[in-house]
Every structure is written in structure tokens, then in C-alpha cells.
């Protein structure tokens, strides 16, 4: 197995070398137009891809067969995971997720190679693209996923000398010098938060999206290399739309994951990890809009190149933010400090691709065609231009907010993240503009704009949107002005796009993608407003069996069910409007470290979600009461009188301590019950593993059990008479007293019309799909034209 690992790391180096060679030969082929170089280049690229697939297969094999002698396998997986989850541990850590990213990048490259070869773009494009792949592979060369565990923990695992009998998992490293190592028989396992089916699907989609974001960048650089500033737009558009669709789907799935299982309370928390995939997405969408302008007018040449470059540069910047450890602990996601190598490599990668893209841009900018665009405020082009810029402003503000820990640590010396309010305040006005433009722009496109007909076309959408805004205001209540304006604009965009989409569909169904995508966005925006601005929330204490009324719902905590040794489902009956349903939010108590992980549960009504997230459970009956017992002072506890006499540390135990063996220190209590009294010793156990307190039970004369648990020893050096001990005492259960039931504390919230968000997402993806079909078709025809002319 160790041999397989060695093979794996060698193959990764082969892949890296092959990718670099592909860069070289592709560039030669571009410069010299040499078929020979092109032949070598393609083979090198294929070799890189093939090697990477092999390395990834070896890696997956090691995971599936539980080879815990590899640090990564030990770190993220364990033998008790289900097969899909076990597979998903492939990308649970940094090395694996970079492998996945590189793998998808290499796959997409194969398609890109075929696609560009038919459009006379292969050499230039693939030389840049192979360089991107090389950098990803370099990351794997530096952060080797096949690292052996005894190389990671030499001090703990590597030993010299005779191997004791009966040891399992022993590997002899050097037979001559007698060096050997033992490796674990079980892995640490996957973070419980990640253990659900979202982990299987979400990262995959996100990484396909990330990988495809490299294509518009590559094509823009290739265009500058070839000094072709127009036809590349048509070549690049289908890829940009594909990338936006996949990344957009990945982002929203992540949101759904956070909402449904992670219990963040909403679908978007403006967390760095979420933001970092949103920024490239916004820029890619901006580039699609701006590209439409160039196709129509021939202008916006430089704008489009810059947008395409930024799309990938922000992917790298995001990766740097979330993977290098710079955000520290200002986020809910935990970022493991990956070490200086990765930090500088990520920074270097960012610098290289900014340098190539914008360096070439600076060289070529003077010769780029300037096409004077006829400006008219009432033109689709102007709306597209404003739309693209507003989108990039959203991206800019999100990027600034996400970079806050870096900015503040430079400016103030202490990293701090911005509050969520920052994102809402900056993006709400921009969202209003975007919605307005996406409605206006579509109407302008459809009615070839003369002022009169345009005004007439506005009548219906404006009236209907006012009605919708009125309904939102009437049904859900008042809100601030900007929110109502946002609602109005989103409704306007929805109706305008439905109207236009219907007319387009009647003309040529193939062209309807854009309208449908905008309808999706508008529906999502309406969903954002209703579900997160008109939501209601309450924190409730539910005593078992006793119905509690809140927000028009009657909630009854029925009791809990043990799912396994750590996870408990808490059943709550929800009664509303004659319908009774049950939710079962889950809490996972980890006994080892006392941590709690909470999973919400949701009842999905058509018009709203009822969202229940567990907070804590308070046991009703036996509660321990803390007492501090000072030496010699009797304290009444229940029917008992308890006095702390002294600490005892016998010579025998002192000797054990000196030898490094387990030893005990005790606190001696005198327990009086009526006239009789008895000694009770509370022990503190000390060993190499640490110290803990041993609980003790006192049985009274009538058979009642008192539980004593020491929590702290407080010996006083200066005045031994002031020595004290802290004790938790659980009183015996008394059937005569009314037993208070368990109380479940929950946070319940109602999210009106949240289904709009999901419905909008699906609509958006359908719109993207239709657009891809149309643009691919168009690009194919252009490709045919080029081939015909050759």
C-alpha cells in the first residue's frame, strides 16, 4: 500500500511535468504554427489528464480500502461511513479538494481542446489553460495527498528497537537500523456537520463551476494573444453561460444545505465561503450581459476582456481567501492553517494570472478597436451596460466585505469581519437597480424603442407590480421604503420578462432563455423579501406534553427518540389551521468533548416554511445543585448535613505520583443523617491522560440515592482552614413532589413564500440551459463558417 502511495505521488509529478510540457508545446505551436508542436502538446495534455485520473483513482482506492497509513485517509474518513460519504471524504480536506478541482479542470480542458480546435483557437487557448492546470497540479505536488502518517507524526509513531509482540499495523521502515512505525487502525472520521447527502453532491457541482470559470479567462487571454477582439466573444459565451449555470446551481444548493441541515436559520449567511463563490458568479453574469452588447454594437471590447479576466482572477482570490488561512477564525467555517507553502503558492498563483491577463491587456489596450457607441438612454445596450456595471459593483462590495479581516488587520492591526448588515445595506440599492434594469432592458429590446411605444409597453407591468407590492404590503405588513421599492422592482422585472418571454416564445422558442432566466431571478428576489424580511421568529420553551401557542401555531413537545449513541430526535407536534404535523429536529451530543451539533427540521407548506431549530433540552426531574463546602462548616443538603473535613493525599499515592502512575487525591466528607453519621470519600483520579473526578453515591437509610460529584478542589495554602471543595449533589427523586417534565427549547420561525426562492432557482437554471443551447448552436455555425473559409 505504501508503494501505491509512492506511485500516486510520482504520477502527480508526471502529470505536473506533462501539463508544463503542454504549456510549452502549445505556445510553440501558437508562435510557430507548427503541427508537430501541436501534436506533442495534445499528447502532453492527454498524458497529464490520464496521469491525474490514475492518481485520483489510486487516492480513491486508498480511501475505500481504509488505508489509515495515509494521513489524509486517517484525517477525514473512518470505517463506519456509508459508501457515498466515504467517497465524499475524497474532497473533505484541502489536498483532496484541490485534486477534485484539478481533475474537473483537466476534463473540461479535453472538451475545450476539441471545441477550440474547430475554431482555430486551440494553441493559444490551451497554452494558457494548461498553465492553469499546471498550477493546480503544483499545489498537489506541494501538498501531497499521499503523505504517510508517520511522516506527519514522526515523534508519535516512529520508533527504534525491538517491536513489542501483539502490535497491529506495524511497518518496518529500516530493517538495518531497526526503525519501525505503527499506524492507526481507525480514522478520525468525517466532521459530523458534513455527514449528509449534500456533502456528496454540493462540492462536486461547485468545483465543476469553479473549473469552468477558467475558460472565459483563457479565451480572453487567447484573444489578446491572437489580436482577435471580436469573434472570441461568440466562442466564449456558451462557456460563460455554462459556468454561471453550474456555479449558480452549486451556490444555491449550498444555501439549501445551510438552510435545511446546517441550521443557519436562513439560506444565505454572507459567510466568506459563500461569498467567495458568489463574487466570480456575479462577474461571469456581468460578462454575459456585456458580451451581448459587443455582439450587437461591436463596442465594449475592453470591458468584455476585463470582465472575463476578472471572473477567473476572483476565483483565485476567493481560493486564496478561504484556503490560505488569512481569514483566521472570523467565520463559521473553520479554516485549517495550511502552512506557509500553500499560502505563498496561492498568492503566487494569483499574482501570475493577474500578471498574465492584465499585463497582456496593458500591452494590447492601445490597439484594441474603439467603436463609438451611439448612446441613447432608451436603448437595450445602455440598460445592459448599466446592468453589467451594477452587477460588478455588487461583486466589488461583496469582495470588500469578505476581505474585511485583511483590510482591518492592515489598517487597525486586528482582524474583524463586517456584520451581515453591511451586505444588506450595500446590496439592497444595487438589487433594486438590477431588478429595474432587467425589466426595462427586456422591454426595450422587444419594442424597438421609440419613446411612445415604450411608455405604452410599461403600462401593464407597472400597474401589475404596484398591485403585487400593495398585496405584499397589505398581507405581510409594513416594512421600510427600500424593501417595498425592491419588491416593486422585482415584481416589475417578473411581469416584464413574462410578457417579453411570451412574445419571444411566439416568435422563436429558442430565444426565450434570457427571459426565463430573468423571470427566475425576479421570483428569487421576491422570495428573498418575503422569506427573510417578513419572517417571524420566536424562542420557545416547550415542556413535555404541554401545548404552547405561538405565532398562530400550537406546539407540543412529545419526547425524544435516540437515533444512535450520540444523536437524538426531538419530536414536536405542530398544529395549525386544522392540520397537525410533526417535526423532529436533531441534536447530536458528543460525549468526548461536550459539543452539541444542532440540525433543524422544516415543515414545508405551500405558502411558507415552518422552521424549527433546536436550542437545548433541560431535563426536568433530577437536577444537580452546586454547593461549595468550606472546611468544617456543615451544609444542609436534602435530609442530610454534609461537612467537608479534609483533603487526603496518602504517602502511597504520593509514591505513585512520583513514579508517574495513576494516583488519587480524595476529599473526605462527613455525612450526617439524623443521629448517625458516615464518611464519604470523593476521589480525584490523576493519570498521564489528565485528571477527572469519580462520582460517589450516598444511600440514605430509607434507600434514597444521593449522587455526589466533586467539580473542583480549592485547597488554601495560606490558611488551610479556608480550604474548600465544590460539589454537585443530585437529590433523590421524590415521587410526592410534582415532577417537572423535560423542557425543549426551540427557535421557531415562519418563512413566508420561501418556495419562491427555490422555484426561482429552478426557473433560472432552465433559462441558463436554453441559453446555452442557443449559444452553442450559434458558435457551431460560426465554427462551420471558419472551416468553410479555410
Amino acid at each position: 500500500m505504501e508503494l501505491l502511495g509512492t506511485i500516486g505521488s510520482v504520477i502527480i509529478k508526471v502529470a505536473f511535468a506533462a501539463a508544463l510540457a503542454a504549456v510549452f508545446f502549445y505556445y510553440r505551436s501558437f508562435k510557430g504554427n507548427s503541427d508537430r508542436a501541436l501534436f506533442y502538446a495534445r499528447n502532453c495534455y492527454h498524458l497529464a489528464t490520464l496521469s491525474l485520473i490514475t492518481a485520483a483513482s489510486v487516492f480513491l482506492y486508498l480511501i475505500l480500502t481504509h488505508q489509515f497509513q495515509f494521513t489524509y485517509v486517517w484525517e477525514y474518513s473512518s470505517t463506519d461511513l456509508s459508501l457515498p460519504l466515504l467517497i465524499s471524504t475524497f474532497y473533505a480536506g484541502q489536498e483532496g479538494s484541490f485534486t477534485l478541482w484539478a481533475l474537473y479542470t483537466s476534463f473540461i480542458g479535453i472538451f475545450l481542446m476539441l471545441y477550440t480546435s474547430r475554431r482555430d483557437y486551440e494553441s493559444a487557448t490551451m497554452s494558457v489553460y494548461s498553465l492553469i492546470l499546471s498550477f493546480l497540479l503544483l499545489m498537489l505536488v506541494v501538498k501531497n495527498p499521499f503523505t504517510l502518517i508517520w511522516d506527519s507524526f514522526p515523534a508519535d509513531l516512529v520508533k527504534t528497537g525491538a517491536i513489542p509482540g501483539g502490535l497491529q499495523n506495524v511497518v518496518i521502515l529500516d530493517a538495518v537500523k531497526g526503525v519501525w512505525a505503527q499506524f492507526p487502525s481507525q480514522g478520525k472520521g468525517l466532521n459530523p456537520l458534513l455527514q449528509n447527502y449534500w456533502m456528496v453532491i454540493h462540492p462536486q457541482i461547485l468545483f465543476i463551476g469553479f473549473s469552468s470559470m477558467a475558460v472565459p479567462y483563457t479565451l480572453a487571454v487567447a484573444a489578446m494573444m491572437k489580436r482577435d477582439y471580436h469573434s472570441w466573444i461568440r466562442i466564449a459565451t456558451p462557456w460563460a453561460v455554462f459556468g454561471s449555470m453550474v456555479l449558480g446551481t452549486g451556490i444555491i444548493l449550498g444555501g439549501y444545505w445551510a438552510y435545511e441541515t446546517l441550521g443557519w436559520g436562513g439560506f444565505w449567511g454572507w459567510d466568506p465561503v459563500e461569498n467567495s463563490s458568489l463574487i466570480p458568479w456575479l462577474l461571469c453574469v456581468a460578462s454575459i450581459h456585456s458580451a451581448l452588447n459587443q455582439r450587437k454594437t461591436g463596442g465594449f471590447v475592453r470591458t468584455n476582456i476585463v470582465f472575463s479576466l476578472l471572473t477567473f482572477v476572483t476565483v483565485l482570490y476567493s481560493t486564496f481567501l478561504t484556503r490560505s488561512g488569512v481569514l483566521g477564525d472570523t467565520s463559521v467555517h473553520s479554516f485549517v492553517d495550511p502552512g506557509m507553502w500553500v499560502y505563498w503558492l496561492l498568492l503566487g498563483c494569483l499574482a501570475v494570472f493577474i500578471g498574465i491577463g492584465f499585463g497582456l491587456f496593458a500591452f494590447r489596450v492601445k490597439e484594441m478597436p474603439r467603436v463609438p457607441v451611439k448612446h441613447s438612454y432608451f436603448s437595450r445596450e445602455f440598460a445592459l451596460f448599466l446592468g453589467a456595471f451594477t452587477l460588478s459593483f455588487v461583486a466589488l462590495f461583496v469582495a470588500i466585505g469578505t476581505s474585511s479581516p485583511i483590510i482591518t488587520s492592515i489598517a487597525k492591526g486586528k482582524a474583524s469581519a463586517v456584520e451581515i448588515a453591511y451586505y444588506v445595506h450595500t446590496n439592497l440599492p444595487l438589487g433594486i437597480v438590477i431588478c429595474l434594469l432587467s425589466g426595462l432592458g427586456q422591454l426595450l429590446w422587444w419594442r424597438q424603442s421609440n419613446a411612445g411605444s415604450f411608455t405604452r409597453s410599461l403600462m401593464v407591468p407597472v400597474t401589475l407590480s404596484l398591485v403585487i407590492t400593495g398585496i405584499v404590503y397589505g398581507v405581510l405588513g409594513s416594512e421600510e421604503f427600500l424593501i417595498l421599492l425592491f419588491t416593486f422592482c422585482a415584481a416589475f422585472s417578473l411581469i416584464a420578462n413574462v410578457k417579453v418571454g411570451y412574445s419571444v416564445f411566439a416568435g422563436n422558442p429558442k430565444f426565450v432563455g434570457g427571459s426565463i432566466a430573468h423571470v427566475g431571478i425576479a421570483i428569487m428576489c421576491l422570495g428573498f423579501v418575503t422569506s427573510s424580511r417578513y419572517d417571524s421568529k420566536a424562542t420557545l420553551a416547550l415542556e413535555r406534553g404541554r401545548p404552547t401557542e405561538s405565532m398562530g401555531y400550537r406546539l407540543t413537545y412529545l419526547g425524544y427518540k435516540e437515533l444512535d449513541s450520540e444523536r437524538y430526535a426531538f419530536n414536536v407536534e405542530v398544529h395549525h389551521g386544522g392540520v397537525t404535523k410533526t417535526v423532529a429536529p436533531i441534536m447530536r451530543f458528543n460525549s468526548q468533548d461536550n459539543s452539541t451539533i444542532r440540525h433543524p427540521d422544516v415543515i414545508n407548506f405551500l405558502s411558507r416554511d415552518f422552521y424549527v431549530s433546536p436550542v437545548t433540552v433541560e431535563s426536568g426531574g433530577e437536577t444537580a445543585v452546586s454547593h461549595t463546602l468550606v472546611r468544617g462548616r456543615p451544609v444542609a443538603i436534602g435530609d442530610l448535613t454534609v461537612t467537608f473535613n479534609e483533603f487526603e493525599f496518602t504517602d502511597e499515592h504520593r509514591a505513585a505520583m512520583a513514579e508517574g502512575k495513576e494516583f488519587f487525591i480524595s476529599a473526605d466528607l462527613l455525612v450526617q443523617e439524623g443521629k448517625s453519621s458516615r464518611q464519604l470519600k470523593l476521589l480525584m483520579r490523576n493519570s498521564a491522560a489528565g485528571s477527572d473526578f469519580v462520582p460517589a453515591t450516598y444511600a440514605s437509610k430509607d434507600g434514597k440515592q444521593y449522587q455526589f460529584a466533586m467539580t473542583r478542589m480549592m485547597p488554601s495554602q495560606e490558611d488551610p482552614s479556608q480550604s474548600a471543595v465544590a460539589v454537585d449533589v443530585t437529590l433523590p427523586h421524590d415521587p410526592a413532589v410534582h415532577q417537572k417534565e423535560d423542557t425543549l427549547i426551540i427557535e421557531a420561525s415562519i418563512k413566508p413564500m420561501i418556495n419562491l426562492v427555490w422555484a426561482g432557482t429552478v426557473t433560472l437554471v432552465i433559462g441558463f440551459l436554453l441559453t446555452i443551447l442557443r449559444r452553442v448552436d450559434e458558435a457551431r455555425r460560426q465554427g462551420d463558417k471558419i472551416q468553410a473559409s479555410e
Binding site: S334, H375, D593, V615, T616, T743, I745
Partner: protein
């Protein structure tokens, strides 16, 4: 054309200025309890949970309170709106965001900084042998 560029530039500059102001406002500054007490502003205080002092969870009001020692060693009672934060027992240090009122620190949020369990450590590697 010129006029448009100027109007555009003004809009962009105004946007950036508003954005920058927003950024400054929503960045909650670090402070210790004594500074927080005087400023009455929302701040974040870093410190550690006093494990030996009592913690309390008010079921009815849903407030969790504990004692926290800030970096200048002043101990103050912190009242959090909500339940005990995730991983509270594990935390090597905590950051409380909120305001100082009436001798108590009222936190809207308490972040816990954990020595992550899911990081490689030589202690765990020994345990899984």
C-alpha cells in the same frame, strides 16, 4: 458624452463613499470591558470563559449568562441573547459582541474559538492506533 461620463463618475464615487461608510460602521471594533463600559457602543471583547464561576440558562427569557475574563484580566458577567453557543466547553477563547450596560455585558453573539477537533494532532493519532 462628457456630461455622461461626469454623471457616471459622480454616481460611482457616491456609491463608493456610501459603501466605505457602511464598511466602517459595520466593522465592530475590538475593545476590553473597561473601554466598552465607557463607550456604550457595540464592540467585540475577546477573552476567556471563567469555568469555575457559575453559568446560568434562563429558560423563559432564553438568555445564557457566564463570566468572562477579558485580556486585561477584568471579569464581567456576560448575558447572551440565546442558548449556550456551540462548542462552548471546548473553546480556548471566546469573543462576545455586544454592549456594556448596568455592569453587565449584553452580547448579541458569542463566537467560540476552538482548537479544532478535526485538525491533525498527535494526541488523536495515538488514540486511534
Amino acid at each position: 458624452m462628457k456630461a455622461k461620463v461626469i454623471v457616471g463618475a459622480i454616481v460611482v464615487v457616491i456609491g463608493l463613499v456610501l459603501g466605505a461608510m457602511n464598511f466602517m460602521e459595520s466593522n465592530v471594533e475590538y475593545a476590553d470591558f473597561s473601554v466598552a463600559e465607557q463607550s456604550h457602543k457595540k464592540v467585540q471583547v475577546k477573552g476567556e470563559w471563567m469555568k469555575e464561576e457559575a453559568t446560568n440558562f434562563d429558560v423563559q427569557k432564553v438568555k445564557f449568562s457566564f463570566f468572562m475574563k477579558d485580556e486585561s484580566n477584568r471579569v464581567v458577567k456576560v448575558v447572551l441573547d440565546g442558548a449556550k453557543p456551540n462548542n462552548f466547553e471546548l473553546a480556548s477563547s471566546v469573543v462576545a459582541k455586544g454592549k456594556f450596560t448596568n455592569g453587565e455585558f449584553h452580547a448579541s453573539e458569542v463566537l467560540t474559538k476552538c482548537p479544532s477537533k478535526y485538525e491533525g494532532s498527535s494526541e488523536t493519532v495515538k488514540k486511534t492506533l
